[in-house]
């Protein structure tokens, strides 16, 4: 091998050759990275997945104290028609005792309607509590069976590993009994 290489005395030649080798290697690496981009980029959500339909939900069939689950962006959205007691419970909480400090007011457009994405902010399970017979957790809202997060009647995290309150999706009231999510 050594026979084909420059002699050790040829210091300038060696340096030049080393530089060229590093340059060529670097160009090769950059080229490979650029070539990998379209492949990795193809894994991002496709256009049909991104074309999110907004959905309209009729609220007139949800009696007070009941809930409805609708599908939006492939995720469940919880709509709860809260009772005056539940609203009172949500509003009277001492803000300092909360993990993710938010007032009930910031989380609703009309106090009797609570709209949240029904995905636990811990690792993405759907919390229980939409049905009357479900476990509602220690705070009368939702309970995530996966890792034991308890949410209150405002969908705020009160106990357990979840770091954030249930997300409130963008929505607007079209009329008194109709909302548009998204």
């Amino acid at each position: 091998m050594t026979a084909h290489m420059h002699t050790e005395h040829d210091d300038d030649g060696e340096t030049r050759r080393d530089f060229m080798a590093i340059l060529a290697g670097a160009f090769g690496a950059i080229g490979a990275a650029i070539a990998a981009f379209p492949l990795l980029n193809s894994l991002s959500p496709a256009r049909d997945t991104l074309a999110l339909a907004t959905i309209e939900v009729d609220l007139s069939d949800i009696p007070e104290g009941s809930s409805k689950t609708v599908m939006w962006r492939g995720k469940p959205v919880f709509i709860r028609h809260r009772t005056p007691e539940q609203i009172k419970a949500a509003e009277s909480v001492n803000l300092q005792s909360l993990i993710d400090k938010q007032t009930d007011e910031e989380r609703v457009k009309k106090p009797e309607w609570l709209v949240t994405v029904g995905v636990c902010t811990h690792l993405g399970c759907v919390p229980m509590g939409q049905k009357e017979s479900d476990n509602h957790g220690d705070f009368g809202g939702w309970f995530c069976p996966c890792h034991g997060s308890h949410y209150d009647t405002s969908g705020r995290i009160r106990k357990g590993p979840a770091p954030k309150n249930l997300t409130v999706p963008p929505y607007a009231f079209l009329s008194d009994t109709k909302i548009k999510i998204g």
């Binding site: 991002s44 959500p45 997945t49 689950t69 962006r73 890792h147 590993p161 770091p163």
Partner: protein
């Protein structure tokens, strides 16, 4: 591999090939006359068994793939079709399904063997790391494969595991969307999981090849943990170990067949025979049994790691690094080390207690005024609130889980004791077997609901203590033992011990 000094073969066809490409010479060298320590016990069968399981999984997986449809609308029914209509499809699927469990059984015993007899120590560090890499790849492959039948556990298991990535600050949510190809586990997720589940076994195969290559450079460890010195210490691989491996494999396959034919769903979850439904989470999500200890570690971290806790942790880690790797001259004086230990320990305790105060029951606090005052003081400290903690409980859990696997990769540098085998390390033996027990207890904790308790003890606490011991074993106990444990005297040679045993047995007769 050099073809220069090759012994010619008598068979003309073999000779014709071998003189052009010396593959038979290579096989004879590596699997025929290859010298192997003569004192192996049956723990040394599990490498070959694991290799056999990899081949079984690739073979059955290939044929399952020919009948499977990777589409959320079709996947569940295509698996049911394999079970009901495809000729012998039930058998192929049950072999594959239980094969995953038995592959993990073989590999867990293989890892146990390596740790008990110190097989990870010099010069086998790279061999060990390649093995840990195979274990990691197996975990990924098993997880991807479990999603394919598109049952309830498939969907929700995938949701929880990909949810780990949302714990990464700032970019976590985007990474999760990129991995899933959508906003929830859905069709694009299933198709890419299928492609990767097909690919990864071949990557594993390649790493297994490197693992065996590295093994054949330094040779096998053995129950005594001393290197063979003369020819009397070894036996040729064939026929001695080909036959011993075959026997062990037969026994293993017998047990495997009991599961395949008599209790094929014993290791699975009934929920996975319900088609995936993104609107309903099963009341109790559990991963497959081989992930349970790691799942328990994930769930054990329910506290936020605030600045006090992390600063203390860094100080303790500095102490560890200094302790494990310091050569003379000593970097840290004894007083300096003690100061680091005390201050670091106090900071960790302050941070942990201060954060835990936020979750203590208010009524209990009213009844224990001393605690209430202490919590009040601690929480008044700057940076003690949950929001100010750089590592949330969620991220902490994910880091602990990945960290527990990472321990395997750095194990050769944490255990600095020169003696390999636990037979000659009485203290190591106790602490390691305790680790195995703790690992099994963690497995039980992982299998139970998050808020369960046994005999009034909340399992979340058991999980935290178990996690504590797991990390203490690697980061505290091993470095300390490496320095202070006095080993029993090692035997002169393998052949001495084998011979003594033989004479002993003969005089008894």
């Amino acid at each position: 591999m050099a073809s220069g000094n090759r012994e010619p073969f008598n068979n003309t066809v073999v000779e014709w090939i071998d003189s052009r490409m010396p593959i038979f010479t290579l096989l004879n060298k590596e699997y025929g006359v290859f010298p192997v320590p003569r004192n192996f016990n049956y723990f040394w069968n599990f490498g070959a068994i694991a290799g056999f399981m990899l081949v079984v999984m690739i073979a059955t997986g290939l044929f399952l793939a020919m009948h499977y449809s990777a589409d959320t609308g079709l996947a569940f029914n295509s698996v049911e079709r394999i079970m009901r209509d495809v000729n012998g499809g039930w058998l192929i699927r049950y072999i594959h399904m239980n094969g995953a469990s038995f592959f993990f059984i073989a590999v867990y015993i293989h890892i146990f063997r390596g740790m008990y007899y110190g097989s990870y120590k010099k010069p086998r560090e790279l061999l060990w790391i390649l093995g840990a890499l195979i274990f990691l790849l197996m975990m990924a492959t098993a997880f991807l494969g479990y999603v394919l039948p598109w049952g309830q556990m498939s969907l929700w298991g995938a949701t929880v595991i990909t949810g780990f990535f949302t714990a990464i600050p700032f970019i976590g949510e985007d990474i999760q969307v990129w991995l899933l190809g959508g906003f929830a586990v859905s069709n694009p997720t299933l198709t890419r999981f299928f492609a990767l589940h097909f690919l990864l076994p071949f990557v594993i195969f390649a790493v297994v090849f490197l693992h065996i290559w590295a093994l054949h450079i330094c040779g096998s460890n053995n129950p005594l943990g001393i290197e063979p010195k003369t020819r009397q210490d070894t036996l040729p691989f064939h026929p001695y170990y080909t036959i011993k491996d075959s026997f062990g494999l037969l026994v293993f396959v017998l047990v495997y067949c009991v599961f395949i034919f008599y209790m094929p769903d014993a290791l699975g979850h009934p929920d996975n025979y319900i088609q995936a439904n993104p609107m309903v989470t099963p009341p109790h999500i559990v991963p497959e049994w081989y992930f349970l200890p790691f799942y328990a570690i994930l769930r054990a971290i329910t506290f936020n790691m605030n600045l006090y806790f992390l600063l203390g942790l860094v100080m303790l880690l500095l102490l560890l690094v200094d302790f494990v790797w310091r050569k003379k001259p000593v970097y840290l004086s004894a007083a300096g080390g003690l100061a680091l230990l005390v201050v670091g320990g106090l900071l960790v305790l302050t941070g942990f207690t201060g954060d835990s105060c936020q979750r203590i029951d208010a009524q209990w606090l009213e009844a224990n005024v001393g605690f209430k005052n202490m919590c009040g003081t601690l929480q008044a400290l700057p940076g003690m609130s949950a929001e100010a903690a750089p590592i949330s409980a969620k991220l902490g859990g994910v880091l602990a889980m990945f960290g527990s696997v990472a321990m395997l990769f750095v194990l050769p540098w944490l255990d600095t004791h020169p003696v390999r085998s636990a037979r000659y390390r009485p203290l190591y033996r106790v602490f390691f077997l305790l680790l195995v027990v703790v690992f099994l207890i963690l497995g039980y904790v992982g299998s139970q609901p998050a808020d369960a308790s046994v005999a009034g003890v909340p399992l979340i606490l058991v999980g935290l203590l178990g996690t504590g011991y797991y990390f203490a074993y690697f980061l505290v106990i091993l470095p300390l033992l490496g320095r202070f444990e006095k080993a029993k005297p090692l035997p002169e040679s393998i052949h001495d011990v084998v011979l003594a045993k033989q004479i002993n047995a003969e005089t008894k007769i």
